[in-house]
């Protein structure tokens, strides 16, 4: 990618930033970004939806399926012991990745959605009519609907703290929404629809001050900043593997050990029990109590490799890299007539939502798609956030470690072509 590197280096505003940016060779680890990997060359600006997978993650999956495709736990032959060791090593890797105290605080789920639903069942079903669950106005449906379902089951009160005109959730409004009946506070660290980063630690501190338990939706956060559950002091935290350069079909619920000890299991089956008779069943220790049945073995191993891969890149570098991209993109989008940026959060991560005057986002998505530019158009599973801005849908560009300033340029060129065609 010689031209890519050139554009990238040229565009950097001062030389001293060059050493904190990610090396161009990263792109070589992604099959569909390699020369000839996609036709037309792929300009992937949809990492907030799902991230591309580096070769190392794919190799880890293949290695499991080829060389140790055994079930885990209690297999006595070497292949099963190897698989068990790899699976549990992945748990320890994830533990380190989010700085959890114990590896048994890491529950493997099928995704962030599954993890939040686990909290809604395991913890939420212990709530009573009138207890309050507080969420924010910019949540993903995954952090709205489970609480609505809980409202149906338990008669809890679901309260929403609105965002402001910028797309921020003001701390004072958030604090004002807390009260003595607030039992659970669930919010996203980073909005997938607007890019807003929330003041997680402060919000958790306030929530704890009224005695509420906290759930952080870290689906977007884990790929673009260091997540430290002890620093945030959160009680639950959920994320997916596939947005973190890992496989589909895997997610993580982190929870404080004491909460997990107190919670009843949500699913029944093999491995989550110590002993079963028809009359009486004794649950297994953590984390197994919450992992009924054969777990996503290959996927956990792949996720472990993915977290190591991200850690090796370094979050300082990742943040600096994405900052350059998102700043450039914002500037160039603003210079394009007819662009309306949706959301002007005080702290933005690598996501930009916008509209083009007179053109529906879906038409933009289809036309850009033809140029190889992959953006997302729609409500981004955040309809209430869209409604807040009085629009049904936006165009969303999201940036990741493998993106370049050439990608930003391609987006702008593509948008101009869309306008030429449609207007």
């Amino acid at each position: 990618m010689p031209c890519w590197t050139a554009v990238f280096l040229l565009a950097m505003t001062n030389n001293s930033t060059s050493d904190v940016l990610l090396p161009a060779t990263i792109r070589e680890q992604f099959a569909c970004l390699r020369e000839g990997g996609s036709q037309p060359p792929l300009v992937y600006l949809d990492s907030a939806s799902t991230a591309l997978k580096p070769d190392g993650v794919i190799a880890a999956l293949t290695d499991y399926y080829r060389n140790m495709p055994a079930n885990i736990h209690r297999g006595l032959y070497p292949m099963s012991e190897a698989a068990t060791a790899a699976f549990e090593a992945a748990r320890a890797t994830v533990q380190k990745f989010i700085n959890a105290r114990e590896s048994r605080e890491i529950i493997f789920t099928s995704g962030a959605t599954d993890a939040i639903n686990l909290v809604a069942r395991g913890f939420g079903d212990g709530l009573r009519a009138g207890d309050e669950v507080l969420i924010t106005g910019l949540e993903h449906h995954a952090n709205i609907v489970p609480w609505q379902l809980l409202r149906e089951r338990r008669g809890i009160v679901l309260r929403v703290v609105a965002m402001d005109a910028q797309g921020d959730v003001p701390l004072d409004a958030f604090r004002a929404a807390l009260n003595g009946r607030t039992r659970l506070v669930a919010f996203t660290a980073i909005s997938n629809a607007l890019g807003t980063e929330l003041p997680v630690a402060e919000m958790i501190e306030s929530a704890h001050a009224v005695g509420a338990t906290t759930v952080v939706d870290a689906a977007q956060a884990v790929a673009c900043r260091r997540v430290d559950v002890q620093k945030w002091n959160c009680d639950f935290l959920a994320f997916s593997g596939h947005k973190l350069f890992g496989p589909t079909g895997i997610g993580v619920l982190y929870a404080r050990e004491a909460l997990l000890q107190a919670m009843p299991p949500v699913k029944g089956g093999g491995d989550m029990i110590l002993s079963v008779t028809f009359e009486r069943t004794t649950y297994n220790e953590l984390p197994h109590k919450f992992e009924a049945g054969t777990p996503p073995i290959a996927q956990a191993i792949g996720l472990g490799v993915a977290t190591e891969w991200v850690t090796a890149l370094g979050f300082d570098q990742i943040e600096a890299h994405e900052r350059v991209l998102v700043d450039a993109a914002l500037k160039q989008l603003e210079a394009l007539p007819g662009v309306q940026i949706i959301g002007r959060p005080g702290k933005r991560r690598s996501i930009i939502s916008f509209t083009l005057d007179g053109i529906h986002p879906h038409d933009v998505g289809t036309i850009l798609g033809e140029d190889g530019v992959a953006i997302r158009a729609g409500h981004h599973c955040a309809q209430p956030a869209m409604e807040h801005f009085g629009i049904p849908a936006t165009i969303r560009a999201s940036f990741s470690v493998y993106n370049t300033l050439a990608d930003v340029k391609a987006l702008i060129v593509g948008l101009r072509r869309v306008q030429e065609i449609m207007l």
């Binding site: 609505q148 379902l149 409202r151 149906e152 053109i359 529906h360 986002p361 879906h362 038409d363 289809t366 036309i367 798609g369 033809e370 729609g378 409500h379 309809q383 869209m386 629009i391 049904p392 849908a393 065609i421 449609m422």
Partner: protein, 158 residues
């Protein structure tokens, strides 16, 4: 073939920019809303049928993408003058066309300018846009107030 040949041709763009039959229809006998909550597309379709159930006039209003708008515009152009049964047959033909099936040449001929939407099957995410207002007309004729681009509109809600 590029997307400008397959979808965003002049005819489609023309109808999306200046849709025909766009606006109210004060003497409507039948009406239905058509919406695709997943896109945010939302239309209102109104029909005036005579005593023999022939569509005598039709109009639509609302907002959505170029494809849904152009499809509605072209469709109303074509269905005025048709009976219920004729509309349903045309809908079947159109549905087959935008799903990538190959209707008979006579069937295609019947579609007239609507054949311009035939390339849409290559963009499966957009097929629902093309048929949204057709569903609305279908619902209006059936006396239902509401249609959705989703084949089965789940009625459970909370």
């Amino acid at each position: 073939m590029s997307v400008t040949d397959e979808i965003y041709q002049d005819l489609i763009l023309h109808h999306s920019r200046r849709p025909r039959h766009y606006g109210p229809l004060p003497d409507a006998t039948h009406a239905a809303a058509g919406d695709n909550p997943l896109c945010g597309d939302r239309y209102e379709v109104r029909l005036r049928l005579d005593e023999k159930s022939i569509i005598r006039d039709a109009a639509f209003e609302g907002s959505g993408c170029a494809i849904s708008k152009a499809s509605a515009s072209l469709m109303l152009d074509t269905v005025i003058g048709l009976s219920r049964d004729e509309f349903e047959e045309l809908f079947r033909t159109f549905h087959a066309l935008v799903s990538g099936e190959t209707p008979s040449p006579e069937a295609v001929a019947q579609l007239g300018k609507l054949a311009a939407l035939s390339g849409i099957w290559k963009y499966p995410a957009r097929v629902k846009c093309a048929i949204l207002c057709w569903h609305a007309v279908h619902s209006a004729l059936a006396g239902q107030a509401h249609a959705s681009s989703e084949e089965e509109f789940a009625s459970n809600s909370l």
